[in-house]
């Protein structure tokens, strides 16, 4: 990310012409200290005992923050999660929104909306579940999630929310799937059909929790970009869920029935984009991780796609093609939001700057010392 630019001393010319900071003479403040952490992390991240992140430009958007770290090593650890988790965030949102739409469709006589919603919710939930299990270090111990009920653990709470959400979703979804099949299934089938509505409604009541708790899942961590977004992220996520589910419904349901879906999608997109904007302003330094690297790309696509999808939705009442395209755009936006925020968090954990600088400023303010740099504020 940067070459060391230690305090006090002048930057020494690099005799080797290499600029990866393995330059032995560069550091003035403890020479090995000025070196990268070495091949072990493969990060090539330098800076070490640096003050001042003399960035090479790509990230020097925010004024240079002055800080010290231990050989540029992360202070907090990035989560070990891989694509499973952002995929789950997205699918959970789709499932939740779909359950809501399905229930609404059920209650307001929009069978196509109901059917597609229930099936989508069930499908998304099933894949979510697979993703969650797959992400575990010990998948066979998934059931241990049910050992305890911990209000302090968003994942525990989420597990119980999902546990409450899943039966209704499964019943409602299964009923729709069964209805598509050519068999009647006898009395179990009848029972299934009878339980579909209560199940669907129960799922819909719980669904908003499914959509919003995942925000807490991320923000209740020491990952700087996630934690600093804790005030707005639930709104971003429910917005994203609404937009995605609405978009999906726009694709799967006939235009005539999809009015609520469009309205939900629009509201969701508007909420997401608004909340994101507020979030970016309140996050502080780590906000820059939303604008840089993989996360930056994803977030740009997300915003553009969501905005286009929202704009298209305004036309989608008249055009099936517009509905499908808008729906796809909204889904894309939602996927990118989830992956973008996920990656921003991971990136913010890997660079000690995002941990150290805000804490140092907070500490200095508390101690009455002038903040070293108004980075990100």
């Amino acid at each position: 990310m940067s070459t060391p630019n230690p305090p006090g001393g002048p930057t020494t010319p690099n005799p080797t012409g290499r600029d990866d900071a393995r330059n032995p003479t560069a550091g003035r403040e403890g020479v090995p200290g000025s070196q990268g952490p070495g091949p072990r992390t493969g990060e090539g991240r330098s800076g070490g005992r640096r003050r001042g992140r003399g960035g090479r430009g790509e990230q020097a958007v925010v004024p240079d923050a002055t800080f010290t770290s231990y050989y540029g090593r992360p202070v907090v650890k990035a989560s070990p999660w891989e694509a499973d988790i952002p995929a789950y965030l997205f699918l959970g949102g789709v499932a939740a929104g779909s359950s809501l739409l399905a229930a609404g469709g059920d209650l307001t006589g929009r069978p196509a909306v109901r059917r597609a919603g229930r099936i989508a919710a069930l499908g998304a939930l099933a894949v979510s579940f697979a993703a969650l299990v797959h992400d575990l270090g010990k998948p066979v111990r998934f059931v241990n999630m049910l050992r305890v009920i911990k209000p302090t653990s968003p994942m525990s709470v989420g597990t119980w929310i999902l546990s409450a959400y899943a039966p209704g979703t499964a019943l409602a979804g299964a009923a729709e799937v069964a209805a598509l099949l050519p068999w009647s299934f006898g009395w179990p089938g009848r029972l299934l059909r009878a339980s579909a509505r209560p199940g669907g409604i129960a799922a819909a009541v719980i669904a908003p929790g499914v959509a919003s708790y995942t925000a807490v899942l991320l923000t209740d961590t020491a990952t700087p970009a996630w934690h600093s977004a804790y005030r707005e992220l639930p709104f971003v996520f429910v917005g994203s869920a609404a937009a995605a589910a609405g978009g999906l419904s726009m694709i799967t349901a006939p235009t005539a029935q999809a009015g609520p879906a469009r309205r939900l999608a629009l509201a969701g997109a508007a909420t997401e984009l608004t909340a994101e904007t507020i979030m970016e302003r309140s996050m502080g330094l780590s906000e820059e991780t939303l604008r840089t690297g993989t996360a930056g790309t994803l977030m740009r696509i997300s915003k553009l796609s969501t905005a286009l999808g929202a704009a298209g939705t305004l036309l989608a009442g008249r055009s099936r093609v517009a509905a499908v395209l808008s729906g796809l755009a909204l889904l894309t936006g939602s996927v990118c939001t989830r992956f973008g925020i996920f990656h921003a968090g991971q990136a913010s954990a890997r660079d000690p700057k995002y941990t150290v600088v805000p804490q140092r400023e907070r500490l200095d303010e508390r101690d009455g010392r002038p903040a070293q740099d108004p980075a990100g504020s």
Partner: protein, 188 residues
Amino acid sequence: MARKTLLDWPVLRQLTGRDPLGRGAAVTSERTRSLEPRTVQADTVVKSICPYCAVGCGQNVYVRDGRVTQIEGDPDSPVSRGRLCPKGSASEQLVNSPGRATRMLYRRPGGTAWEPLDLEQATDMIADRVVESRRRHWQDTDEHGKPLRRTMGVAALGGATLDNEENYLIKKLFTALGAIQIENQARI
């Protein structure tokens, strides 16, 4: 392990005990509750001395079923007061390292690989070679006729982690054989 019952379900223990948030007493597993250090499980604790540097730190060696399970500092030692450096702390690995060589190996002249060899046979071969090399390089007197009574055909170099008793037997045996080039890390 005891058979699990519903009463072991931590959620129930959370609800019925003093740990409603499930942070401590309610969530322990059977394994956790029965945990004890392996120092307690040892059959014997043997007093020893660290084999690395010459400070001579005391070590307690914990043995279970004929195997060393732990080596740690001996708090009784007035030298070390129970402390050990990283090497001393790695003594158990020195003893139990999977990479440790525990089989007799033989490399024949010009050979490109180790071969297995019976320990007893190997010792016999060494005895034969010592006797032969001693004979081949025997010197009875020097050029002035002064007695030498020695052989120059066999030499040795010992490490300084040998016990005193080992050094004593080495010096005694080789001196009796007339081998004089018997050296030690102590000169290195």
